[in-house]
Symmetry: C2
């Protein structure tokens, strides 16, 4: 295992210390229990937007803490759900009296622990709303999930809900916007190679030199099919067509498109995918209103990509365009 | 070779088409000859800042074209210098009467071709200034270089010169600021793995499972030493100490620090490196005024990192903080 690490057991803690030092104007990191919180939290009468999940998907979620996006993020161990006490402590730290919104990716452990944290919050008089993200069209059930897995739409939901909360909307209003994002967003990914979880020390799945996995999960969960490596255009055809047909996205649908790298894929390759994807949109009459190309929800150093599409109206586009200032997104 | 590509001969062109489509509000891509140019170029009486070099180091340079940074970028084939006609065409496209500044990384081919382009420009009455970046402290001469290689300081020079040009400074003033950056910046990198150049199809160098290369170049050029893999802290000690001692950076030096990923390294590992690096600065009394952590000058999907330090005064910090709006840097 070749990694820039010291001790596999301490990668999350050391990375968080580095994050805190690098972005002290934006955020603070609390340990025991561990959470990342906006430097200027809590904001009186502002809904606190909180997400979290296993580490290893950087920059999600820690890199999205800041103005106009997340008020707090709760990082678990690598590919492991955060615990209820982390989430509860984060909620207490950001609650300004207007309640907190949990943005939860659909994994069994995450749902369980966010639910327990919600009960703890309510017992303390903190209003809690939640949005479940389950956008991965690849498979119905999976290794850690009943129903569809939560992947790339999480990034878009955090941006859009964060903007609405920043503007002072109520908990029920921000939650409704989050559910609208969840309903109108779809994703699918693929891998050329496995990542290596530091504590495991070896690839979490095996692919032959000429193989790829279509529909891979962000924790290496099996996808739809292991098949012979194809060209970027053919791979884009498979991912995009499956997503287009699922909502379905129609002629004149306005979309935000994210072409996401899994961590080990050069940016150049993501633009090659986007180049063909944009042609497919043109053919179908789907209108790309905004795009985001790069590493946003990764799987350590996995090589591969995912495509996330969100059908947007003027409301969602308005919140997407609103200013954001975090370590990983800034405009 | 597992890559998200179609034809190895067309990766640069297809990626540029994707870039153009994704960022049409910021830039245009011209082909034959190939260059990337600000959508709103030329600007009357503004110095045009131009860089370029081999492709494969994304987001550099194309991702830095936009307001407050580069007016144009000239991408060569993968790891191959751009040709003089590309550079000349870019200069003609951005010249608004105040001349153009070439920011050149110290590689023999780049210097030759930028020099020829400068002659072509002068023959057309376009003033040309240039800044040579040769910041890599690892080795004196290298595979494609007499003297030190140009690496991470290029990113900082492009940002800082771009801001000064945007503010309306003259060609000689912007060039002087660029030379100040070049004089006060130092870098060093390391690799855990090789990248694969698409047209070559196999790793460009071999490292054993327990080996790393300290002082690697961004094209896989040999570094100082191939050694047994060490911890992130030990690696950071080696890179940082070598850089600190070179300028030298002293107690109370103010610095901008860039911890750069080579393309295939998870962001988490870069924060682990930064965490230890910041402690080293504290011990030495070196003051980190700004930091930049992520993939900025890569080597395709190489795993590894580099550290770049720039000693700054209020002037350089002022230009660093000025607004920038490009595909890869935005504040």
């Amino acid at each position: 295992m070749k990694k820039l690490i010291n001790n596999p057991a301490e990668v999350v803690e050391e990375a968080l210390k580095g994050l805190a030092r690098a972005h002290s104007e934006l955020l603070r990191v609390h340990f025991d229990p561990t959470f990342v919180v906006r430097a200027d939290a809590p904001h009186k009468n502002k809904v606190g937007v909180i997400s979290g999940g296993g580490s290893g998907h950087e920059p999600m979620h820690n890199g999205f803490v800041g103005r106009g996006m997340l008020d707090a993020a709760c990082p678990g161990a690598i590919f492991t759900s955060p615990t209820p006490d982390q989430i509860f402590a984060a909620a207490c730290a950001v609650n300004g009296g207007a309640g907190v919104l949990f943005i939860i990716k659909n994994y069994t452990g995450d749902i369980l622990n966010f639910d327990i944290a919600a009960e703890m919050c309510r017992a303390e008089g903190i209003d809690v709303g939640s949005v479940l993200i389950h956008d991965d069209v690849a498979v119905q059930d999976s290794l850690y999930t009943a129903g569809r897995r939560g992947v790339g739409v999480t990034v878009l939901a955090e941006k859009i809900c964060g903007a609405a909360a920043e503007a002072g909307l109520s908990l029920s209003e921000v939650a409704a916007i989050g559910r609208k994002v969840s309903e109108h967003g779809r994703s699918m990914g693929m891998a050329l190679s496995s990542c290596i979880v530091p504590a495991v020390g070896r690839p979490i799945f095996e692919l032959q030199d000429d193989e790829m996995e279509i529909g891979i999960g962000i924790h290496g969960e099996p996808g739809r099919e292991r098949m012979t490596l194809r060209t970027a255009n053919e791979i884009t055809d498979i991912l995009a067509t499956t997503i287009f047909d699922d909502l379905p996205f129609r002629r004149n649908s306005n979309i935000i498109a994210m072409i996401n790298g899994m961590g080990g894929t050069p940016l150049m390759e993501l633009y090659i995918v986007f180049n063909h994807f944009a042609r497919l949109c043109d053919e179908r009459g789907v209108v790309i209103r905004r795009s985001l190309i790069g590493n946003y929800i990764t799987s350590l150093e996995m090589a591969g990509c995912s495509i996330t599409l969100l059908e947007v109206d003027d409301e969602l586009l308005h919140w997407w365009d609103a200013p954001v200032h975090t370590a990983a997104l800034h405009w």
